[in-house]
Point group: D3
Chain length 254, copies 6
């Protein structure tokens, strides 16, 4: 069974740095997979991707040693099953608010007797190896997004669920859930407090803490705070920010 | 007929700044079209795009006022016809080496009596307007890439062809054609000399001079030199450079 | 924030006329968007469309000022979230039968504190504008399909739910639910009675009443009756009826 | 209404032999549809197919007289509705464990008054005929997969549900549910016992018994045991086994 | 070998009525194929179709007995080969201007010894039958578009080429070539004269005469004049005209 | 620069065994790439593949160490450029009949000064490595199909062209060119003779000889005769033959 090197890093207490694909370009997927991220996630929640192009995005990542993940759009079993069958080596699960939800996700992602995942993983076997049935449980990474007031309240119970490997904080949704605006430069104090609560909840359960952020400064700061599962911006932010900065520095009128 | 504002700027001696899509993401196309470029070109030559997704890319650009162009992969009439029928408001033509080639391109892009373009432009009419048949000749932009030793030699004749609006220099292919490597930080003296020759050839014919480059510094320098049709990097370079810079600034090992 | 002109018309008591895409052709989408409909809906319920081509269909509509809507296939949060994130400026929701269902739909379509919609709307921001987070609640249109016996019974409670802007009657499903056949030329009296009940329910709640129909005669009759959110046939009916009428008038045998 | 010849065979006690598409190639779909299978199912559960390419796969099958089915990925109404609207003449439903689930599936697949399927079946009418509304209930085939311990326990109740036409055993998932490994050459005794229990449950309810298998030997053995709804391997197994066998017989080193 | 019923009709002096797909919707293709046209052509010249979706469009048509044709975008051998390999039972060839061009097209479409078509027709065999190699020459239909001044001049030589089955006049391009505008309601006298010349040229060579038109009135008139290969509007015109007529009859302001 | 292991084997006199994708399934591509072929070619000549899905097929192969090739549909520079830019590590060129054609192909596939290939190979660099510009000439494999009477006549000159690495015989087209039928079980004596002539022509030029065949018996026989570049059937033949054999062994009537 192919080892999940991103999960291994988390277990060893090391940062696992990744990014996310909002766009559906397999060429960009392969370009970013060649840069050296530990993991890259195809976003199925807020993106132009869908189940129709997911396999192609995963194959693009799998031309390299970067670990392919999928952010599923909800906790529905169909998305968990398809993402894993198509070779994702882990899932990022949005809006986990209770331990029951976390447990249901783990069950959907696990073969019996731990769960009820159905057999038939065409790319799972190709990518993971012929011992996929017995090894998948160890290698697949499950990240629970804690991004609502209710999720923060239940974070310890959620993170204690066996099979949940890390949390992943979405600061925008967390801000919104706490009554603020998204996309702010500096998070509100109660949001920072909630982030700290989530981190402590994960650590208390012996799990890695994770968070989505956008700059290397934030990444280094969060790593220093103890975060390890780090999402470093997205493909479309890189292109949007790069193009905007470049164009705005050109003197156009003559 | 919708005015081609990018072509208008060139005619007025103003810079028309654009960029190019190597990736086939309509989301990225729309994001970049909202940034303020004068034009954006879907690349069919060195990219993951094809005739199959071209319409979608053009529609994405056309949700804004940015002018949609297409770099065709060769001078074949099929690509000229399809790009324009699908609503491109101009074409960038690779490896133009003789006036005969330039004339053939203009003929393929022009309705009789100037040329032999066939009638039937579903998106041409939607985007350009109901007077497309009579107005297309004035609005459509044709940029001839001068990127080989032979093209440099014939630049004045090429640029004198009626219907060729601007040249567009590809410094990588030009370097290669002159015996150097592509993708160098600083162009060789003979490449710079050829670039100057091309520019003078365009200006002598009363046409705009254009060039592909990557940084705003280069853009400002080339504009100061008299270049006006400016290609400012590509979508995949923005994402690749942005992600690489970001990741390399994160301290990963702890 | 871009104003939702179709919603504005409804609020002003004016008819908002639209149609629906059963086919997945972005070219047809753009052709119909240039005809002057107030809104056009991409059908994800009974069509060849899916989440995979939805963005392209919406971008085609968004090359014009016609307001883009989506008929989602069920009330599941995934479809509500994706349709809006991809830039739909409203959703048509099938088989709404209770106020609880209507409330759940509005919550899924609204950011906190009204609802629990998750942040991250790549095309929402491009189409709506940078103040999308604060403005979306006002501009997004939600139409509840009342098309079953149970829905008719609960129509007043459904239409009273804050955030439901209009009803939309599906006469075929309503006929079937009341024990009749679909696709009849003249609706049964009890179906007409139910339609009147629904209309009155909407008006009583201060909301617009809407209905799907096929001919301009029916449209004018329903508008005279007080209906305002008018669905005028579908793309595939136009092509099927046009081709059938044309071919049947040709004398083929000689 | 076009007769469902596969369902007819089952009703007449004859074997109905089919296979399944894990790959999303419409060319392979048409090739296999020309071989003489009674039915062919597009797999949406463990495959590279999705709602985006489903119509194309069904159209490929429908160039022949082979009956097109769809294995849906879960019991959700969206997949039942879309598969049938797009012209599937039956569905294979995974992990049916209770009569309540079976009843819900039949309701979702049936027009009122039997169920609550919504009207609007673009390819249903093209393929089935203009009397689709009244005839669909008779022709559409529903196969319940019994593949878990709980399903085995409830098999008689499940198979007694009016509208369930046959069971279909997934030996891999059944083995896994009973604590064994999937993909074994010889099934464990308790799995064989469960298979016998399921078969008897179907026969007791006057329904056909079905099973997925891989070799013609197994097919003949199961038919002799009384099974009639026979799934004979899959497209990707044919290609994988054929290529492997061929390559391994070539002497490569010289 | 499956008989080409459209070609048969032409040989018998009967009208063969068809239409054309500018849109790339396989659902619309199947809807129109169920209406009763003798043939339907997928347009690769002025459309949103490409080699990428051609097979799907042809399969949609091939669910019925309507004969599938392709209008290729130019006379290049690649398009002739691919269209036929994918199961087209004939090609419509644009801008044929000389007998040499016509001969080259026939050679590219014919197996040796008549031509040099390469073997390997995956859908050709599925659709045509196992004797495709020997039968294709008889069944495949080749229509030469005569739509330029030069084509008119050479029409007799073109139509005398063995293997050219019919001409097909494009009145828009013909008008344009003769110095007029396209899309006029009434053709100019010299255009009508050229149409008569082309028809006589075809008849003199013992071949059918054909023409593209839009209304049943024109169809009946042209059939009365002796035309037999009749193109009756296009999918997107049907939808555009139907929607425009419908909407314009609705009283929108109240 | 990544070594082309298939080319290396040919240079070392070892057989390089591959197969071809007529279907466009990236899942099947990855399954076959995991079986152990030295190379696999995406067919763009007689297949359902096109430039639109080519990158995805190549990425699927590139998840393994199997070398990705493309059979281009003709000798046009566009297909050579696009196949290589998208990461193909070689091309199979149909119907090479003269040394001039072979030379033109090599030029189109080679950067200056050897040829005139244009710079810009997004996947070329990702797959080949950062020294792609200087290394591509050594690693890219060019196989000339000799499959016509004229090609046989000129085989020595063709194979002597610098840059042509191997021939590849298409027995079906060769049979057809010599006046016989394709798809015969046993080749005609003059076809066998032509095959021997081609092989000797390749060997005389110090190049490998290659051939397409279908069974391991034929493969072993041809290898014993001295052939080294061996194409072992295709994906769709594997699935067609496997399914047909399996189904025909089942006793269906009871």
């Amino acid at each position: 069974m192919r080892p999940n090197t991103a999960k291994k890093r988390l277990k060893a207490g090391q940062p696992a740095i990744g990014s996310m694909f909002t766009a559906g370009s397999p060429l960009i997927a392969e370009i970013m997979a060649n840069i050296g991220f530990d993991w890259l996630a195809v976003d199925l929640e807020h993106s132009e991707n869908s189940l129709a192009n997911l396999q192609g995005m995963l194959q693009a990542i799998c031309t390299t040693s970067t670990i392919p993940l999928v952010r599923i759009p909800c906790q529905d079993v169909v998305f968990i099953k398809r993402a894993l069958d198509l070779g994702a080596y882990g899932i990022i699960v949005p809006q986990v608010e209770t331990a029951e939800q976390a447990e249901a996700v783990v069950k959907a992602a696990s073969y019996p007797p731990r769960g009820f995942r159905s057999w038939g993983a065409p790319r799972g076997l190709l990518y993971g190896g012929s011992d996929y049935f017995h090894g998948a449980g160890n290698e697949i990474l499950i990240a629970a997004m804690i991004e609502t007031r209710r999720g923060v309240k239940n974070v310890r119970e959620i993170m204690s669920v066996d099979g949940i490997d890390t949390c992943w904080i979405g600061p925008n949704d967390l801000s919104v859930s706490l009554g603020h605006s998204p996309e702010v430069r500096e998070l509100e104090p109660d949001v920072e407090e909630a982030i700290e609560t989530i981190k402590l909840g994960a650590l208390a359960a012996g799990k890695a803490a994770g968070i989505q952020l956008y700059t290397s400064e934030d990444a280094n700061r969060r790593i220093a705070q103890g975060f390890r599962f780090i999402g470093l911006s997205t493909d479309v932010r890189y292109v949007g920010e790069g193009a905007r900065a470049n164009l705005s520095s050109v003197t156009r009128e003559r």
